[in-house]
């Protein structure tokens, strides 16, 4: 059993999906999905422990050894992210019951869980695999499943958002396919580690540059780097709340993982950053993303869309950390991957509870909610403080490392800009605080009750995680520094 952990990670949700179809009844399916996700979570913890004791795990699918066969390769970076994705997935599923019952019609609920499991499969597959084409396949699996999930939203704009996401996502995936194809053409292999060995000989050819360019652009579309982020706000805003929770906390993080993996483990740090002006581009786009998205967020009336734009801004920070090109910068990015998932997971789960009771996410509907739904609003406030980067929350930890990385590389004007970006976050978070706590509730509605317990509990687990990992940073910081160090070592 233990040797098969890498493949089990992907197979558990994959097999669970069609079984849900067989089970049919929504309540049964709900618990089954939760168990499948929980098993995947346990699996990921075991994998991390294994990697920490044994070092990188290499698993050949079907007994066919690499580079001919497909290899699953788990090192600290994937193990870290596997835990992140599975834990958020499980927590979101805890809250899924009441939330989906309100937002979807009865017969659609089962199909939602099927799509959810397939999306989870795809994401876990991307993380676990060591084969480049496998990345594309799982990427498309997760994307297709997410298009489906988004389209199930109540509002008809969900359909339109899903369609737009489909078009843009497919173009991105096709770019990635082109990149992989060109890489294969030059080296004859699809295994990522074999590629790493063979690429240096052919590095200076135009084909490899083109392959890298196509690949990076495709991945940047998937991770919603400015200006390729246009699909994200609507997709997150109109999707069912649980879908938003899951996607906001995981999908873009996995795309960033793909970028990191190819930059460091396949192409190598030197090639990626020296022969092409990738550093400048990433830093510039990251910064622009932070400012453009934060400013747009300030003017949003739909609170879900507001936080979606906030996500684009936070992704900008992550890319900025990557663009700095130092170990501290990479540590900051890795930290923020984890921390942002906690922040946004908590906020969107709180919003799920809010939608359950209030039915709308327009800012006007928030009037007076501070008194009526104190726990939900408190969760949003803490999440907001984390976004701003107040000490004792996780947001502060990543921000500290990012500013430190920028100062270490003597880019202090950018450090100033990063801090100004945090102040923009204060504005859009405080808009919500003011409406919720300072305005009287709208007169014509009966007072709202607090969100149901099944939604509140996962919300507060994430909120407390926000604070806990903001104080006891040993796990996240320790792992991130280790991973950053190992990625830079490989790059030599």
């Amino acid at each position: 059993m233990i040797e098969h952990l890498p493949i089990l990670q992907v197979i558990i949700p994959l097999l669970a999906a069609p079984i849900c179809l067989i089970l049919r009844e929504a309540r049964l399916v709900r618990w089954f999905t939760f168990i499948a996700s929980a098993l995947a979570f346990v699996n990921s913890i075991l994998l991390l422990q294994q990697v920490q004791t044994q070092g990188t795990i290499s698993y050949s699918l079907g007994g066919w050894d690499a580079p001919i066969g497909i290899e699953y390769r788990i090192d600290l970076l994937n193990a870290y992210l596997l835990i992140l994705v599975t834990s958020i997935s499980t927590l979101a599923l805890l809250a899924a019951g009441p939330s989906l019952r309100k937002e979807l019609s009865e017969r659609k609920e089962t199909y939602f869980y099927v799509a959810y499991l397939l999306c989870l499969t795809g994401l876990l597959g991307i993380l676990a695999t060591g084969d480049a084409f496998n990345v594309f396949v799982f990427l498309e699996i997760s994307s297709l499943a997410s298009y489906t999930m988004i389209a199930m939203g109540r509002d008809r704009r969900a359909l339109w958002a899903s369609y737009q996401y489909l078009i843009m996502g497919t173009i991105g995936a096709t770019f990635i396919l082109i990149g992989i194809g060109l890489m294969y053409m030059m080296t004859g292999t699809l295994n990522m580690y074999d590629l790493a060995e063979r690429l240096p000989e052919v590095q200076q050819t135009k084909t490899v540059f083109t392959a890298f360019a196509f690949f990076v652009v495709g991945v940047c579309l998937k991770l919603a780097l400015f200006p390729l982020h246009l699909w994200l706000p609507n997709a997150y805003a109109y999707a069912p709340s649980i879908a938003t929770v899951f996607l906001a906390a995981t999908a873009t993080k996995v795309a960033i993982y793909v970028l990191l993996r190819f930059i460091f483990s396949v192409y190598g740090f030197e090639f990626s950053f020296s022969h092409l002006p990738l550093q400048e581009i990433l830093v510039a786009l990251g910064l622009m993303g932070v400012f453009a998205a934060s400013i747009v967020a300030i003017y949003q009336d739909n609170v879900k869309r507001l936080f979606a734009y906030s996500s684009v801004a936070q992704i900008g920070y992550m890319i900025l950390g990557l663009g700095v090109g130092s170990k501290t910068g990479l540590t900051a990015t890795l930290l923020h991957l984890f921390n942002h998932a906690l922040m946004k997971g908590a906020i969107f789960l709180a919003l799920a509870g809010l939608i359950y009771r209030v039915g709308s996410v327009n800012l006007k509907a928030f009037s007076g909610l501070g008194k009526q739904m104190p726990w939900t609003m408190a969760a949003i406030v803490v999440g907001g403080l984390s976004l701003i980067g107040v000490p004792l929350t996780v947001g502060f930890v990543s921000k500290w490392y990012l500013v430190l990385a920028l100062l270490e590389s003597n880019w202090w004007p950018i450090a100033v800009l990063v801090l100004i970006g945090s102040l923009l976050a204060v504005i859009y978070v405080w808009r919500i605080v003011e409406v919720a706590y300072f305005r009287k509730a709208m007169q014509d509605s009966a007072p709202y009750k607090e969100a149901p317990l099944m939604i509140l509990i996962p919300t507060w687990i994430l909120v407390l995680a926000n604070i806990y990992f903001g104080i006891d940073t040993g796990f996240t910081v320790g792992l991130s520094e280790q991973i950053a160090a190992s990625l830079f070592e490989v790059a030599k």
Partner: protein
């Protein structure tokens, strides 16, 4: 660097750009899907054409032949084609539902209706 010798790449480029152009330039949702399909097809052709080795035969073992075309890209493309079909199917299903919900499959009409709805919210 004979242009004629690399005609396959030219075809790929032409198809890719046509497909991409169709996606961007047309407002009709179904036409967009078609453009997307053309775009994806160009990439399939890229893979398949690159696998053909000059004077290579089909990859069936036989003593008479020494040079074989590479079968791996074909396999990869089979997968990609399936993915493409799934995407197209999903996209068209979405178009059907959009037609039901909005009454139109033209992008600008849909956006107008959305703006109206947001204005009245």
């Amino acid at each position: 660097m004979n242009f004629l010798e690399q005609y396959n790449y030219w075809i790929v480029i032409i198809l890719m750009m046509s497909g991409f152009y169709i996606v961007i330039a047309h407002g009709n949702l179904i036409k967009k899907m078609i453009g997307l399909t053309v775009f994806q097809t160009s990439v399939f052709i890229l893979y398949i054409s690159m696998s053909k080795v000059t004077a290579g035969t089909a990859p069936i073992l036989n003593e008479a032949y020494k040079v074989y075309s590479n079968p791996l890209p074909h396999v990869l493309i089979l997968t990609a084609i399936v993915v493409g079909i799934a995407t197209t199917a999903l996209g068209l299903a979405l178009v059907v539902r959009i037609k039901e919900a909005y009454g139109s499959v033209e992008e600008d009409l849909i956006q107008e209706k959305d703006l109206q709805q947001e204005g009245s919210e």
